[in-house]
């Protein structure tokens, strides 16, 4: 069915002529810095996400992790540095000029984004929330988009609510629909920006279960989260940001059991005393 890691979207890659023997990283972040009003939020951040890999970004609030995620799909524009999605640079065209809105929209549609506050469109039914972009951005037929949407809603356990409007749903249900909406664009990479932070504790589980399923299906995902046990269970790599710098990047068993830095040790003691 949906295998965004392998299926080619309609976008034609032009930047892969140089070296085709190496598989391009799904996301490659190179030397990204970003300031807001003189406050440096990201300092020379570099990291790579391989196709099919699940990377969790951890850090205390204000460490820049959401900003980093939002730079990946250019919702925030980095001050310096480059970001490549499956080998193609986002935000800047090959000539070094800022991308046109249209080019940028094309790049963004390869990335699925799930927000902390769901951001479902309240005037549209659950089904229309999922089909809106495939129909009006990708140009899918209504029938095709509807079929795809129903399959995805089935996957996140929300098919029975397809005719409901968002305000009638619980937070967990909303977030599951938002995940289906992002998947409907058949993105190469899924970005999760604290997907469970706005949820009541008893609703967190259902959303995490959906994300866990996706990780088993081989989706490439970058997840900003505060859920330590979840990060430990789903991630291939854990990245720890502190004051805009990546101070640790390691597989979860290493990160949670034998952290290299005192900073991470202190963080883990505070956030996940049991871990």
């Amino acid at each position: 069915m949906h295998e965004p890691a392998t299926s080619e979207t309609t976008m034609v890659s032009v930047a892969e002529t140089a070296d085709t023997s190496v598989v391009a990283a799904a996301v490659s972040i190179r030397g990204v810095s970003k300031s807001f009003d003189g406050t440096e939020v990201l300092r020379d951040v570099s990291m790579e996400v391989a196709p099919g890999e699940v990377v969790s970004i951890l850090g205390s609030s204000g460490s820049g992790k959401s900003t980093l995620l939002r730079c990946i799909n250019w919702l925030e524009t980095p001050d310096r540095g480059e970001i490549h999605i499956a080998g193609d640079r986002i935000g800047m065209s090959d000539t070094g000029k800022p991308m046109s809105r249209r080019e940028l929209a094309g790049m963004r549609s390869r990335l699925g984004m799930v927000f902390q506050s769901f951001n479902l469109w309240p005037h549209l039914s659950v089904l229309r929330n999922v089909t809106e972009a495939p129909i009006h951005v990708q140009g899918c037929s209504k029938a095709e988009a509807g079929e795809r949407a129903m399959a995805l809603l089935e996957k996140v356990g929300m098919a029975h609510k397809c005719d409901a409007f968002p305000y009638t749903l619980s937070g967990g249900q909303k977030q599951r629909v938002a995940i289906a909406r992002a998947l409907a664009m058949q993105p190469k990479v899924m970005l999760f920006d604290e997907p469970t932070s706005a949820l009541d504790p008893e609703l967190v589980g259902e959303v995490l279960a959906v994300i866990k399923d996706l990780s088993k299906e081989g989706y490439t995902m970058v997840i900003v989260t505060h859920e330590m046990e979840f990060a430990r269970a789903v991630s291939d790599q854990v990245v720890f940001l502190d004051k805009g710098i990546i101070i640790e990047k390691s597989p979860p068993e290493e990160f949670f059991v034998t952290p290299k830095t005192d900073r991470v040790r202190r963080f883990l003691e505070l956030e996940a005393p049991t871990a």
Partner: protein, 221 residues
């Protein structure tokens, strides 16, 4: 013959006026609403190019009494060589004046729309026009429906001003009958009935939008 019978015999005059008012109102309402939507679209983005001129236009219209605008267009413009018919001048006055108000209503609602709504659309690859038309505008209309209904009723009543620049609408019909037969009381009571009729129609329309919005959890702004 009673005064009411006189009016009944001249019902053709009323109906003509009513028809003209309906036309004026219908066309100017649609065009003014579209103008308002267009202006708010041009104000989208972090640094809209036309922000200053549009702001001046909206504030200019808001500080101007409607009657003065109609006077200016019909009696003032000919001195600059531009001659408009009464109907044209009336339409332009209604559309630009109420277009500015619709823009202001929608812009106010736009400011309270959560930024995440737009971000979700951008992240999904929507173009600016696509995002505005499919994600932003429907929400603005649903949450501003009561204000939009109010503005439509004000627009309807402003069509009556156009009698002064010789547009032959409903109020003009009543005016002429009242002075021909000297029956102002009856003539204007009938005219009130006609305006009331249109207002009731409007109210029904707004109610339908209201039900549509309520079903989606939109509260009245």
């Amino acid at each position: 013959m009673s005064n009411w019978e006189i009016l009944w015999d001249s019902r053709g005059v009323f109906l003509n006026g009513f028809y003209t008012t309906l036309q004026l109102f219908g066309m100017s309402a649609v065009l003014a609403f579209l103008a308002g939507c267009g202006i708010v679209f041009l104000l989208e983005g972090s640094r809209p190019r036309l922000r200053v001129p549009l702001r001046i236009f909206i504030d200019g219209m808001r500080m101007l009494p409607f009657l003065i605008l109609a006077y200016l267009l019909y009696y003032g413009l000919p001195s600059t060589g531009i001659r408009l018919s009464a109907w044209q001048a009336g339409m332009i006055a209604l559309v630009s004046y109420h277009g500015a108000y619709f823009a202001e209503i929608l812009r106010g609602c736009r400011l309270t729309l959560p930024a995440g709504q737009v971000e979700a659309a951008i992240a999904q690859g929507f173009s600016m026009p696509g995002m505005y038309l499919r994600i932003v505008l429907p929400q603005l209309v649903l949450s501003a429906r009561a204000l939009i209904g109010n503005q439509l009723i004000i627009l309807l009543k402003d069509t009556a001003f156009l009698v002064i620049i010789t547009v032959r609408e409903l109020t003009a019909a009543a005016n002429s009958l009242s002075s021909t037969y000297f029956i102002p009381m009856e003539a204007f009571i009938v005219v009130i009935g006609f305006y009331w009729l249109i207002s009731i129609g409007l109210e029904q329309g707004i109610k339908i939008i209201g039900r549509f919005g309520a079903k989606r959890g939109f509260n009245n702004a």
